[in-house]
Symmetry: C2
Subunit: 487 residues, 2 copies
């Protein structure tokens, strides 16, 4: 669901290393006011014997800069599949809202991501990896919130959870499963339906395609034609031509190598659709403003479609222009998530999650989308996952555990989605009750609303954030009133 390019991982590592070695006063200023801390967390919430009563160090970021102590609400970001700093630095709306509503802000890192590795670098072995589940993550957050509230003398402070993408799913689940701990949830771009198996395997790449088509129908045609030309070269086994036109570091030598190249190329379009923000960003890679528009301009520039396709992929993989050739196996790794798992440790953890609880059987078919047909069936997933992780996915489980689309008993959840985001139609698009509110952000990409204000923001996201602020403030007041009655 998320991919962090090698570039970003390195940049972030350098940044964090700097931060960690900085003197305290500098730490504060460099870290946007966050303190980085570690919480002693239960290793296995659902088994008292498996690994003894072990614990691990779970990282979290905290700032009380805006907090009305022991009174203001707690805004808690339910970290998802990546380094928690990445989410903190790309979710400025939460601190802006904290400033308005005098809130304490906590960003909690998901177990098995970033520096919250229960078994260090050995966390991704079998069976160590097996304590990576959605349920463990939710239990982590519940225990952490409960204990931190006591430590911070904040037991009467209402808690609102925030999350984007898989983090948004976790925010929804927190409100469903732990409403005594969490008074409300802002779930931005959370595909809770598709990941529960309630969807259509062609939806995702169809919606990616629609973004490019909406810029210019010729853009879709050009991309299709380019992929078709690539296919023809592959049929002819003209691998040296494929290498030269795509500037590959190695000559492909098999159908598998071509499949890998197709995956790499498709992934570039996926990323540009998701991250189609109206200004340049450094989130999940370096991206220009309006990358879909940039891509279509590139695709439609002259008649060398294969060269255009290479340059379009370069927007994502070669933003700096420093790469001399594309290493298709290091820039993109095929995994149990056809929308991409990213690279490095985080990608292994996400691959495991896509192999167990989270359904991501998306396919491109070249009919409803502009990409080569790349089937990924439940059977393909099973074969891959049993080989890679010695697990069999349970496609029905997430729906059983987290209610699927039967949410009528829930309350106080905002489902925000941007209509440019290919994840949007895997989520809740219509309000279900007065407190299960769907917000559509016209012209918005992947959880644009969680980002800090920017002068290039469309009016839709400004309005969305205003609605979100009002609802959250209302939930906080209601929760406070309920607590007062109890006292």
């Amino acid at each position: 669901m998320r991919r962090i390019s090698a570039f970003v991982t390195v940049t972030l590592a350098v940044f964090c290393a700097e931060v960690l070695s900085a003197p305290p006063h500098r730490l504060q200023s460099r870290n946007h006011g966050y303190m980085e801390k570690y919480f002693t967390q239960t290793l296995d919430h659902f088994n008292f014997n498996s690994m003894g009563n072990g614990t691990f160090k779970q990282r979290y970021l905290i700032t009380d800069k805006y907090w009305k102590k022991s009174y203001g609400p707690i805004f808690f970001y339910t970290g998802n599949e990546g380094d928690i700093w990445e989410f903190a630095l790309n979710s400025g709306f939460i601190t802006e809202l904290a400033a308005q509503q005098q809130a304490l802000v906590i960003f909690a890192e998901h177990r098995y991501y970033g520096r919250s590795l229960p078994f260090g670098n050995d966390s991704f072995s079998i069976p160590q990896i097996s304590l990576l589940t959605v349920e463990q993550a939710l239990a982590d957050y519940s225990v952490m919130i409960t204990e931190l509230k006591q430590q911070l003398i904040a037991t009467d402070c209402p808690v609102i959870v925030f999350g984007g993408s898989y983090g948004g799913m976790l925010s929804v689940y927190m409100r469903l499963k732990y409403p005594s701990i969490v008074a409300g949830a802002l779930a931005a771009s959370a595909p809770i339906l598709s990941t529960a198996g309630l969807g259509d395997s062609s939806q995702f790449f169809r919606d990616v395609t629609a973004d490019f088509e909406s810029i210019n129908p010729k853009c879709r045609s050009a991309v299709m034609a380019a992929f078709h030309q690539l296919k023809e070269l592959a049929v002819l086994q003209d691998y040296s031509r494929i290498q030269s036109v795509f500037a590959l570091c190695q000559t492909p030598s098999s159908a598998q190598d071509v499949r890998q190249l197709n995956g790499l190329l498709r992934n570039a379009f996926t990323l540009m659709a998701m991250l189609d923000y109206p200004y340049s960003t450094q989130f999940m890679g370096s991206m220009p403003a309006n990358p879909v528009k940039v891509a279509c301009k590139t695709m439609l520039n002259g008649f060398n479609l294969l060269a255009n396709l290479r340059m379009t992929a370069g927007i994502v993989y070669n933003a700096t222009g420093q790469l001399k050739c594309f290493d298709q196996y290091s820039l993109y790794v095929e995994c149990a998530d056809p929308t991409g798992c990213g690279l490095g440790f985080n990608s292994m953890a996400w691959d495991y999650q896509a192999c167990t609880e989270i359904n991501l059987c998306y396919e491109s078919n070249n009919v409803t989308d502009m990409f080569p047909p790349m089937p990924f069936t439940e059977r393909d997933r099973e074969l891959y996952c049993s080989k890679r992780w010695a697990v069999i996915p349970r496609p029905d489980w997430l729906k059983i555990q987290f209610w699927g689309d039967e949410l009528s008993t829930a309350s106080n959840i905002i489902f925000s989605n941007g209509d440019l985001d290919p994840w949007a139609n895997g989520g809740v698009r219509k309000s279900l009750t007065s407190s299960l509110v769907a917000i559509n952000i016209h012209g918005g990409a992947h959880h644009l609303d969680l980002r800090g204000s920017n002068e290039a923001d469309p009016a839709s996201v400004i309005n969305a954030r205003r609605t979100e602020a009002d609802l959250i403030s209302h939930w906080v007041e209601k929760e406070r009133a309920a607590l007062t009655v109890l006292l």
Copy 2:
């Protein structure tokens, strides 16, 4: 929380062996219409690697005798700590209600109890025992309901869960955590607050005492005086006198032996208070009608208090009059539940649950109750549990996981309690909203309302069952209407 005497276990085993070897037509008639079946259940819902993707055979009883096929509701008993036949044969209200409301009835056996042993007789070793948790049990029921509904062409049939005692806790939790699967819950005598650590460690034995006191204040005094006389003999180390007066099979020889005897005696009063039904029963042992009254009559018959105490204990332990002596270590086993764990495999499983998630740190103190002071602190529990099961209890966990007393976001739960039941004040006694309804059964013992109608029933329980029937019927209709809107 429940104890099954050796006597009942044997009787039940004989009964079940008969049933299993019986020809089908006899099976139906002998089994109150239930078919006994086994469901292939996931071994570990929360870990995809721990024991591979193993399964086990989970037993359930089912009858469609009253069911309006593919339309009527499903009444699902969330089995608790014992053989599922015991609950089915002592919860006649559910089939009576099924007959009225054309429901399918299922009694599901809790993992690690009865014949639902994931690892057979080896289930109680470490680490095999570690898959015994409340969360696994709830996941079992959720998966079972989902799959059976498909098998039985019953996907549109609303499900109501029923449970008594710990089974009632599970029913509540099902509605809290899986409301998309379960439309409502009747939780009879479910101590969801005390077991979550929201209570007072002296409550239980104080309420046992109150039952006897309410028959006659002299009854309390007589019991206290008898225990005091026993204490004096113990101080004098007059063990042979203790043996003779209590007809023990072995002579006590230590303070520990006397503690064990005190535990055995206190347990007899606990059982009589819990099972103080207005007619004789064969549930958790053989019990006369109104056992508390019988006990007080026995205690106040003449002046030999120690003999009276022995005879009172005999009501529970020697109902048939066949025992020549009391073997204090085989009739009662001390464990992590001071209200008793029972005997045999089931008691081991319950001990493990009391050592991990379920808080049962009840103490008698000889001030607010009539029993000898028998402290059982959190520290005592930790020491015992780490030695017995290599686990450390997590006293805060149940409250975090199942909301404690913060239930305002829940709906469609009946909390019924009888005011004779020492478990009652560990549960919800006041209605919280119009759909979180507390029912008090005046003169009712432990989940009397779940038992089948009896001519000795007090008006209170007849009224309670009527209210329950109305609420359940209302929930079913509401759920059906909601489903119709979706179709």
